[in-house]
Symmetry: C2
Subunit: 342 residues, 2 copies
């Protein structure tokens, strides 16, 4: 049998443990996996692009565990009552190839994306950072805010969204949780005085939600929404303001902010910073940029974190996804057995 | 909610409809999809190779439907009580990217592989074919035999397997179903006098389970087990005996029998034969070779065939794989709602 964590189970898990606590702990799991970067069999994700959006598969494995995520990105979905992104994922045993764990990942992806942002900012943002600007207040926004508070202690937020209803939703969800939130009339106003700027917009366009003039010395820029060919968020001049850090270079060249600059634009893979093989921030005045697109290791980490955290909770159920004939060569006898398998 | 067809449901479906009937009908569904080959967004499968075996993802889409299959191949599994191949697959709506149908595919892959072989042989084997040799009597063997009888009327079988227990299992499963089966002492003996030769072995090696001398004029060769880099079944000289037909050339160059010959070895994609764009068999004396590796369209066809056939049967259940917040931008509110979603 394969363990299954459905939507209801996931909501219950988040409710019991708390999103902020989950992400604070998950940041450590993701960091531990980034540190052993070289033990993973990595590849770029496989994307099927359509006029409506994209559907992607993101596989990855270490010597013991295989994981993949199914994820779509459909920017026009919210206008039709659907979410932009939905996802689910699987863990499998490398030794026999059997899938052992299947989980909804729409919520888990939101958690791991924010946990990754905070895990990176913990090394790259100035240690005295206390204020974050957030450009975009959609599905991912609250998760980012909670992860940054849990991991870095940032609790002053300056937000901007083109859709006032999205900002109102953000305030409604987070004001009761002790954040000091200022809703701003523009991205520039939000960025003014911030130590960290998170851009997290969904529009599939070569956008400039943050301009070069908005960027002040010492800022850490956490750019989340540029994650697809033709979908970016930053004025490209910002990339010249300071070192650019990425997850997996071959994928970011195609999907990240750096798709708008030269193919040999210098970047640093963040796992090298964690392992002391490359420099992170080198001065308080430096601008640092995390060009995040989302990488399969983060899903691997999130799934294994979830699986370990659920042990003993009874939250997962079982589904009969894998046929298990007594004689493994007699699949036909199994498939045509007179009594259906339980 | 996402429809789910588990192992028990699949066994019940096969039991109700009959494997031979299912594959005979499924061959037409696969043929219909091969005929509209050019309407699919195709890519090679993504494989994670490990010392134990391989885990692959096979995505494909047409303008309305996306499908992918997860499948492993672990040749040493049967010796440890596991199956060589397990699989599951998903259909999704292209317009919003939501997964709508999840099914076990260990059995469904066995059905679609044999249905594809028979669908191809219907065009390439001599119309008067009555005897099939089968080299390899493992998990796939009975499915091949039933599909060839259902689609081509072939009911005389000459089988050989290195493992006598596998041959005994094959006879036990199929003799009661009206086949005339001769168990042979070697592959050469099995091939002697056969109109069609199906090679279906699991060893991950550059093997020669069929030699050039075993091949007689007029034969159709259906080679199934050469489907991975370093995993082939035929004496390469056989490929010079007659035209070689493939599913999707870029994938077969890497995984099929033709990996053992020149990179520009001429092949014909079978969909072109169906559409009258390329010749199939041109004389009764000709040897024809189907270098099958298994392609994503076959899984797409099998899943949509299954889904359509299950309508009204009540065999599928539902799982809550996709979070559906009332406000699609308020994933956080949904994820932290006090009452778990049903």
């Amino acid at each position: 049998m394969t363990a299954f964590v459905g939507v209801g189970d996931m909501v219950e898990w988040i409710s019991r443990r708390g999103a902020e606590t989950i992400m604070t702990e998950m940041a450590d799991t993701i960091e531990a996996d980034f540190r052993r970067w070289e033990s993973f069999d990595k590849s770029e994700r496989v994307a099927n692009h359509t006029p409506f959006g994209v559907i992607e598969l993101m596989p990855i494995s270490d010597p013991d565990v295989y994981a993949f995520k199914y994820v779509n990105g459909h920017p026009f979905n919210p206008g039709r009552g659907y979410q932009t992104v939905t996802a689910f994922g699987v863990l499998a045993d490398v030794h026999n190839g059997y899938p052992v764990f299947l989980a909804e990942m729409t919520m888990l992806t939101a958690l791991r994306t924010a946990a990754t942002s905070a895990m990176v900012a913990r090394r790259l943002a100035r240690p005295d950072s206390s204020t974050m600007a957030m450009i975009g207040a959609g599905s991912q926004a609250e998760f980012q805010a909670l992860a940054f508070r849990g991991v870095l202690g940032v609790s002053r937020l300056r937000i901007y969204d083109v859709d006032p209803a999205a900002s109102a939703k953000f305030v409604r969800n987070l004001a009761p949780r002790g954040f000091d939130i200022t809703v701003c009339a523009s991205a520039s106003e939000a960025a003014a005085g911030a130590d960290i700027v998170t851009t997290c917009t969904a529009d599939k366009a070569v956008a400039q939600v943050l301009t070069d003039a908005d960027v002040a010395p010492g800022m850490h820029i956490n750019t989340i929404g540029g994650d697809c060919p033709g979908k970016t968020e930053l004025d490209p001049r910002i990339l010249d303001r300071g070192p650019v850090f990425v997850e997996y270079t071959p994928q970011t060249r195609v999907e990240g902010e750096i798709q708008n600059v030269a193919a040999d634009f210098p970047v640093t893979e963040f796992w090298q910073v964690l392992n002391g093989m490359a420099a992170g921030r080198t001065s308080p005045e430096q601008v640092t940029i995390f060009d995040s697109v989302g990488f399969a290791i983060e899903d691997f980490s999130a799934l294994r974190h979830l699986r370990a955290d659920l042990v003993g909770t009874g939250l997962d159920t079982e589904i009969d996804l894998v046929a298990a004939p007594e004689d493994p060569k007699d699949l036909f006898g199994f498939a045509t057995s007179p009594v259906p398998v339980a």
